[in-house]
Amino acid sequence: SLSGRLDDIFTRLRSRGRLDEKQVDEVLREIRLALLEADVSLKVVKAFVTDVRERAAGAEIHKSLTPAQQIIKIVNLALVDVLGEKNVGLRPVDMPPRVILIAGLQGSGKTTASAKLAALLKKQGRKPLLAACDLRRPAAIRQLQLLGEQAGVEVSADVSGTNDAVAVATAALKHARDEGFTDLIVDTAGRMHVDHELMAELGAVEKAVDPAETLLVCDAMTGQDAVNVAESFLAEVDLTGVILTKLDGDARGGAALSMAYVTQRPIKFAGVGEKLTDLEPFHPDRMASRILG
């Protein structure tokens, strides 16, 4: 374990009240290794380790903690700082409906997350509307309709075979306004951040519905590519937050740190299963210990 490896370093380099440079160097090598093994993107690891070095250099050794515990505490605090606060909810709006745009790579869990959010809002006594704006994937509309039925939430859909996502989103927004829905959750097709046409489509949908929230849905098992995805989506739409899915798996989840670092946006929710109730507020402290292993 990381704490075990750090203990070994401090046993070998006996400390005298302050952490010296040699200790910090060896320790930072172990931290770097742990973060890479946890799938944190390399450039984020480098920036993060630099930050930890500044915090650790010359830090006083506390009497009640071993040097290894001290370092872990410093790293943990630094991680939680980047991962953000917990329980950052959805932004309120002055005029309903509050529009929430859901975006991300193929298979990341957007459609499921959209329905989970709708179920959550309904539980809070609100009146959400789902919009089926994935006009590409076979049976995507049907998938959202079935999930909407399960959640007891209406789904605005166009089954004519159109591929005009902007039109479908616009129609859903009109329906939401006309019928007094409090929230409109717009599910979109999975897309590669390097697909210019599809990224432009996402930008167009965002422009058409002017969301209060644009949430990037990211699979917790994502590796080094997290940085590329975060940068590209941030360049195309006004991201306001991240949903990290499949945290009920055993991936270390370093993508959380990469996403938080690059987007500088809060991770608002964690997907922890396939049921509509499997959506939790994100806990940065739990994520920090999970990443450190």
Partner: protein, 277 residues
């Protein structure tokens, strides 16, 4: 570019970065770079461009060139392929692509909708069956996946269908009941004859967890080949190297898009060239 001019300390750092960023995994990368430094010393490499050739050769060495990468067919009767993997990796889409390819080669295909759990899973497979000209076998939502698979195998053998491909629900490998269910689906199919291929579908964007997935699925379902999907993004899928080297499981196919034609055989040389590009 890490590989221009004379190799310096920075060259080695940049090279290590390329490999790590490809998701090969720092544990696998470190010995590769060490071996490469030794070779560069003994072979007196003074041009970084030659380093690239040496690195490509090192990486290629990690792939067993004699490994069987073709898909397995039964000697007689219906071939049965089982497709497995964690949620959202591209199993159902890959099956559609496979069915179409088989059809193009004059084989009859049947698809079994044994994902009886996820919303609209059978409808999704149904669209692919239609596109590929394949028959679809499905039960009602919530049915026992083993029952669907069994029904599909009996049906396919009775009709003399060339290939039956069984779609299964996405499942996380750390969920024991779901992995037990998968093992049971395989046993049920084997009551009626051989399972000729168990394809594990892995998302190229996966980090080190991809190796854990491969290990667990191999243990529970007996994997015979891997499909690495979504290589049309920026992820390099370097976890494939760790999987081949550590587990000896062959990468057989790659997914390069959402269209029916977007499935290609896995070619180690091409994969490595793309990884280093």
């Amino acid at each position: 570019d890490a590989l221009r001019g004379t190799p310096t300390d920075e060259t080695w750092e940049d090279l290590e970065a390329v490999l790590i960023q490809a998701d090969i995994g720092v544990e696998v990368v470190t010995p590769i770079v060490e071996r490469l430094r030794d070779r560069a010393r003994t072979e007196k490499v003074t041009v970084a461009g030659d380093l690239r050739k040496l690195l490509a050769a090192e990486l290629l060495d990690l792939f067993d060139r004699d490994r069987e990468r073709a898909l397995s067919f039964a000697d007689v009767g219906t071939s049965v392929w089982l497709v497995v993997g964690v949620n959202g990796t591209g199993k159902t889409t890959t099956i559609g692509k496979l069915a179409s390819d088989l059809k193009d080669h004059g084989r009859t295909v049947s698809l079994a909708a044994a994902d009886t759990f996820r919303a609209a899973a059978d409808e999704q497979l149904g669209v692919w069956a239609e596109r590929a000209g394949a028959q679809l076998i499905k039960h009602q939502p919530g049915a026992d996946p083993g029952a669907v698979a069994f029904d599909a195998v009996k049906n396919a053998r009775a009709k003399g269908i060339d290939v039956l491909i069984v779609d299964t629900a996405g499942r996380l490998h750390n969920k024991a009941p779901l992995m037990d269910e998968l093992a049971k689906v395989r046993r049920v199919i084997e009551k009626e004859g051989s399972v000729d291929e168990v394809l594990l579908v892995i998302d190229a964007t996966a980090g080190q967890n991809g190796l854990v997935q491969a290990r667990q699925f191999a243990e529970s379902a007996g994997v015979t080949g891997i499909v690495l999907t979504k290589l049309d993004g920026t992820a390099k899928g370097g976890i494939a190297i760790a999987i081949e080297e550590t587990l000896g499981l062959p990468i057989k196919l790659i997914g390069v898009g959402e269209g029916i034609e977007d499935l290609e055989p896995f070619v180690p040389d091409d994969f490595i060239a793309a990884l280093l590009s």
